[in-house]
């Protein structure tokens, strides 16, 4: 059974500015369906406005779908109530794109990492929670003295690691990663990607990877969904997608990726990226 099943997900946003204006809505996500198997990585690829981040927020239950269903481990997310809802929060965690905006600037790293533990009553005492936090930091490659420091004292890559450590602090089985490396330098990206790959192997995590960076998709993903204007236009295994893209939009997208080989320039030739 797939760990995550998304069925006919739809999200409409109400664009009315005041109560009395005529109804105007924007369909951000239109009939999106996909499954993710445990331990695998599904990448959702698309450009801005494609709805990929909105899908991520709905999977996390941070945004209510207009219609459609999300089943986690066989149960509908909408059905969760009370204690189950808290348990759901433990199982699915998130890493956002902007490592500065996603960490509360006024909290020390220790507090950032132990907050989840406090909410879910993990760890019997503050000392025990601090020990766990220290372990998490070391696991993501940060020194233990970082516990008492604040986010702005760290670089982007380090902050992203803190965000990953925070996500892991509640021992989730599923991670939604919304452009986790897009705001990072190239040399830092590779560290973070390595870390994510190792963690996936070590903890058996399932990833929903939202990104527009096709190089990362090539490297990390098992399956890929390509989204355009709220719909999934293509869904295929990663290698199949890159070898033989079926949908014209996918082809256009792939043709617009710069290749790191000056002898094979294609961007400056007419047609790349155009309709």
């Amino acid at each position: 059974m797939p760990i995550l099943e998304v069925k006919n997900l739809r999200k409409e946003f109400d664009l009315r500015t005041s109560f009395l204006a005529p109804k105007k809505k924007k369909v951000a996500v239109d009939d999106v369906s996909f499954n993710v198997e445990k331990g695998q990585t599904l990448a959702i690829v698309g450009e801005s406005g494609s709805g990929k981040s909105t899908v991520g927020l709905m999977v996390l239950n941070l945004l209510k779908p207009t219609s459609g269903d999300i089943l986690f481990e066989g149960r509908s997310v909408a059905d969760y109530a009370g204690a189950d809802r808290l348990k759901f929060r433990r199982s699915i965690q998130v890493v956002f794109q902007d490592p500065f905006a996603s960490l509360n600037a006024r909290m020390q790293v220790l507090e950032l990492l132990t907050e989840g533990m406090v909410i879910h009553s993990l760890g019997a005492s503050p000392a025990e929670r601090e020990d766990k936090a220290r372990d998490l930091l070391l696991r993501v490659g940060l020194p233990a003295d970082a516990l008492r420091r604040y986010p702005h004292e760290f670089s982007g890559g380090q902050r992203q690691r803190i965000a990953i450590a925070r996500a892991l602090s509640v021992q989730p089985s599923f991670l939604v990663l919304d452009e986790p490396t897009s705001a990072l330098d190239v040399s830092v990206q590779s560290h973070v990607l390595n870390l994510l790959r190792e963690l996936q192997g070590e903890f058996g995590l399932t990833y929903l990877f939202i990104t527009h960076n096709l190089g990362v998709v090539e490297y990390m993903a098992n399956d890929v969904c390509v989204m355009q204007s709220g719909k999934i236009v293509e869904h295929a295994g990663a290698e199949a997608l890159f070898d033989e893209p079926q949908h014209p939009y996918t082809q256009r997208l792939l043709s617009a990726i710069p290749s790191a080989d000056p002898t094979q320039r294609k961007l400056l030739t007419a047609g790349a990226g155009d309709v």
């Binding site: 527009h212 090539e218 710069p258 000056p262």
Partner: protein, 355 residues
Amino acid sequence: MALLEVENLRTYISTPRGIAKAVDGISFKVEAGKTHAIVGESGCGKSMTALSIMQLLPEPGGYVDGGKILLEGQDLLDLTWTQMGERRGQDISMIFQEPMTSLNPVFTVGNQIAETCVTHGMSPRDARSHAQELLRRVGFQDPAQGLRQYPHELSGGMRQRVMIAIALANRPKLLIADEPTTALDVTVQAQILRLIHSFQEEFGTGVLLITHDLGVVAEVADTVSVMYAGEVVEDAPATELFKNPRHPYTRDLLASLPSRQRRGQSLEAIPGTVPDPASWPIGCRYANRCRRRFAPCETIRPTGIPVGAARVACHLYDPEIPVSPTGRRGLGEEGEATSSREKPGDASSPTGGQS
């Protein structure tokens, strides 16, 4: 004579913690009609370089400490503020990364394009029709309508096109593009790069492209300077740089990119971090992260050494530095950088086999 020649530029920023040497002695050339890219990661000084050329350094604190910036032979640093003002928008133009904040939200697009024309001598009426023509040229379907639009009504890609229109309105000799496509989707990026290129072909403009994206560099650049920690570590024609990356940083950077070939394996991430700009180390600034560092790296600052078609600031290529009897292994780990882009012959003996 090159269109733009930068010689030993030093731009410093005075901060409460000391003087940060953001740009510490760099040199490069931009030829007319060609694209020179400066590529590097955040903090390497590439944006500061662009701002130094335009004389738009952040105040207070930023200042040019020395060097020359020669535009067609004339040193821009010698000019007064007014004289430089005449140059900006006329001979040199710049486009920036964030189209959201580079355009004034309270003026129409047409107004902003016309403004630069009028500043440099055109009559308002001519400026308006010129603006409309420019909008057509940069890809607006309805240029007359476009003139009346405000920046917030346009998408990121359209705004960047407007920026290009403003920058190229007066047919400048040099265009500086600071991360022009970083904030844009990949398909829009392709369109914008093509647009810049088409202007370049039509007007013979020299383009100085600042970016962190090696893919973009490979696609559009003729020559490349790789910057790290305020210095140019490698300068080469684009084809040469990607075929034969020489400086360890360039190689490590190319080797660390995620790709299909590396599925299932660890990426070769560069260890360590960039040193603090307020206190650069005395020797090579990449030494603390370089796999191939050896004795002179910690204490002697490398200078640009010609190697083939490139210039590399690395002791490994210095014919005058003796190597130990066992080869170049000094401190640092054993082994070559195992980049798949490396040509076998080149990596093993950068000193040409001299002992």
